[in-house]
Symmetry: C2
Subunit: 333 residues, 2 copies
DNA sequence: TTGAAAGCGCTAACAT
DNA sequence: ATGTTAGCGCTTTCAA
C-alpha cells in the first residue's frame, strides 16, 4: 500500500491540504466540524505526516546532536553512559531525536550533520577544546556543554561541583581520623585539576594541615596509570592511611593495586572516590564516593538545550554532589 | 550570512544545479573541467548541502532506529550497552545516524518516527513481542532483532548460541568435578529458557547424570530474585557444590547471597555465569563466565541492516560464545 | 472558514 | 556535457 500524504487525506475528507495541515498541527483556522471530519480520516487511515518534508519547510531537524569526546564515548564510559540515558529518555518526551556523534579529525572539526542543518542543537559531553567551541559558535547552532569541568563565561554548561566534592571527600577522611592523605588527581583537564586540588588543600587547611606536595602532586589519566601511581605510593612502609581519587575509575585502579600488594581495604588503606559510577557499588569493598544524579544531569541537559533552541537565555549551572558512604573508608584512632 | 544552496553554488560557478548535484554526489555526467571548477567553489565556500531536502527527494532518512526494550535494569543495560557501542561506531562509518528509541505504550506500539518515514531500518534489541514483529512487518521497513533469544523463521536475527553456552558451562563444571549442580535460569523469554535448559540437561546426560528437577526448575528474573532463589538453595546443609546462572547478573545476585551466608566463593560454592558483562571481571572473585564479543555483535547488526536496506537477503546468524575462565569455580576431588 | 498556490533545497528525468 | 524543469510532502501566505 502506498504511503498516504496530506493530499490524499485532503481528497478523502473533501477539504484542502491547508485544512489537513491545520488539523495535524492543532492550529486555528478550521471549523470544528471540518476539524472533526479530518481528524476522523486521519485516525481511520492511521496517517502520519512525513517528517522529512516538515523538516524541510520548517528548517528544523528535531535532532539534537550529542557530541562525545573522541576518547570516552557514552558507550565506553559508565559515567557518561548514565548521563546519556537521561538525555535520551528526556528527548523522547520532547519529541526530539538524539544523534550520537563525535568530532572528526582529532576533535577539531564538527561533523557534517551540523553544517547540513541536521541538528537543532548540540550537547557536548566532557571537556571541549576552545577550537571546537569557536566552530560551534560560528555555526549559530545552540549548544551547551555537560561536564566540561570548566567554567567558561561564554559557554552554557552543566557541571558537578567538583571542588566542593573534593572538599567534602577530604573532610570525610579527616573526620575519620586520617591525616596522611594522598590525592590522585586527573590532570587531563586543567580546570578540573585546579578545582580538585583547591578542594583538597582547602579542606586540609581547614583542619590546620598543610600537606606535602608529594602527597597531592600525583596525576593519573585512567585506571591503569592510577594503578601505577598507587604502586609507588603504597609499596613502602610510610604509606598514607587514605587515598582520595578524583575519579572513581582511579579508585578502582588503586584498589586493584592494594589487593596486589596484599593490603586490606579499608583496614590497611582507606580509599574514597568521586563520581559513583555503576561499578563502585559492586566492587569489593564497596567504594565510598561522592556521587551525583547522572540521569538527572542528562534530563536537565535536554531541557536546557530545548530552552536554548526556543531562544530563551539559559544560565550555566553548578550541581551539588553528595557523599555516598560505603565500605572503603575506616575510622582510625 | 545566509545559508548557501545548490542554486547559489551553481550561480557562482556559472553552471546548472544539475552539475552541482552531480559533483556533490560523485556522479558522472559532468566534464572534468566543470567538476573541478564546481568542487573548488564548494570547497571555498565550505558548502554543505541540506540533508532535509536530500532526504525528502530520495525518500531516505539515513536513520536507523535502535529499539531498546528497557532502560531500567542497569545489569541488562550493561550487556546491551556494549552492543550499542558497536552499532554506533559502525553507523558513523556508514554515514547513518542511529536514533535510540523504545516501544511506546507497554511495548506494543512502534514510535511515530517509524511511521513518519524517519527511519530506513530498525534494529530491535532483546526479545520482541509477536505483536511488535507484526507491526514492524506491516510498515515494510527492514528490521532485524539482536539477542531476541528466539529463533523465528520470519525474522532476521543475531543471537548468541545460548544453548551451546549453557552446555559448555555445565561441561566445565562437570570437568571440574562438580556433580551437584544447580541452574538458575531466566524464564522471562520462553525460548531462552528452553535453550538453556536443554543445554544443561544435555551436558549432564552426556556425563550420565540425570539431575533432579528441583536442581534446575529454578527461575529468576533479575539480580534480586536470583538472590532470593540462591538463599533457598544455599542456606541448607546439602547445598549444591556449583551453581550455573544463565545470566551474569543472576550470578552477581548469587554471589552476594553466598557472601551474606558467609560462604566462600569458590571454596564453598562455585559459580559460573553467561554473558560476561562489564561488571563480571570487577566483582570479587572475578566471575568465570561464557562471553561473546558484544561490540562485534553491534557492528554486525549495523552491517546486516544496511544490507537489508539495500534489498539484499540476509540470513539469521547464531554466534558462538566462549568460556572465560576466572576465579569463581574451583576443582573438587 | 476555506482553498489555491508558492515555496523549502535538493535530485533526476528529459531536452538540448 | 549541460541546462531546464518537475517533483518530493509538507507549511503558510494570500485571495476568495
Amino acid at each position: 500500500m502506498k504511503k498516504l500524504t496530506v493530499k490524499d487525506i485532503a481528497k478523502i475528507a473533501g477539504v484542502s491540504v491547508t485544512a489537513v495541515s491545520f488539523v495535524l498541527n492543532n492550529k486555528p483556522g478550521v471549523s470544528d466540524a471540518t476539524r472533526k471530519r479530518v481528524q476522523k480520516i486521519i485516525d481511520e487511515t492511521d496517517f502520519k505526516p512525513s517528517l522529512s518534508s516538515k523538516k524541510l519547510v520548517l528548517k528544523q531537524s528535531f535532532n539534537i546532536c550529542l557530541m562525545m569526546n573522541a576518547f570516552s564515548s557514552p558507550f565506553e564510559d559508565l559515567f557518561y553512559f548514565e548521563i546519556t540515558r537521561g538525555i535520551i529518555n528526556q528527548s523522547m518526551k520532547c519529541n526530539y531525536n538524539v544523534i550520537i556523534s563525535k568530532p572528526i579529525m582529532s576533535q577539531s572539526e564538527l561533523p557534517d550533520l551540523i553544517y547540513s542543518g541536521d541538528a537543532d542543537g548540540i550537547i557536548f559531553m566532557q571537556d571541549i577544546s576552545p577550537a571546537l567551541i569557536e566552530k560551534a559558535q560560528a555555526t549559530g547552532v545552540p549548544f551547551l556543554v555537560v561536564d566540561s569541568h570548566a567554567n567558561n563565561e561564554n559557554v552554557t554548561s552543566i557541571n558537578p561541583d567538583y571542588k566542593k566534592a573534593t572538599y567534602d571527600a577530604t573532610s570525610y577522611l579527616l573526620q575519620h581520623g586520617h591525616t596522611e592523605i594522598c590525592m590522585i588527581a586527573s590532570n587531563v583537564v586543567p580546570d578540573f585539576y585546579t578545582q580538585t586540588l583547591s578542594g583538597f588543600t582547602d579542606a586540609m587547611a581547614a583542619h590546620g594541615i598543610c600537606p606535602h606536595p608529594a602527597f597531592y602532586n600525583i596525576a593519573a589519566t585512567n585506571e591503569a596509570s592510577a594503578y601505577a601511581e598507587a604502586r609507588k605510593l603504597l609499596d613502602r612502609p610510610n604509606r598514607p592511611s587514605a587515598v582520595l581519587c578524583t575519579v572513581d575509575s582511579f579508585a578502582i585502579g588503586v584498589m586493584r593495586c592494594a589487593k596486589d600488594l596484599h593490603l586490606k581495604i579499608p583496614q590497611d588503606v582507606s580509599i574514597i572516590g568521586i563520581d559513583d559510577i555503576l561499578l563502585s557499588r559492586y566492587i569489593e569493598p564497596k567504594l565510598t564516593t561522592i556521587g551525583i544524579d547522572k540521569v538527572g544531569m542528562g534530563t536537565l541537559a535536554m531541557d536546557m538545550i530545548i530552552q536554548k533552541i526556543q531562544g530563551k537565555t539559559v544560565e550555566s549551572i553548578l550541581l551539588p554532589m553528595e557523599l555516598i558512604e560505603r565500605d572503603s573508608v575506616k575510622t582510625i584512632q
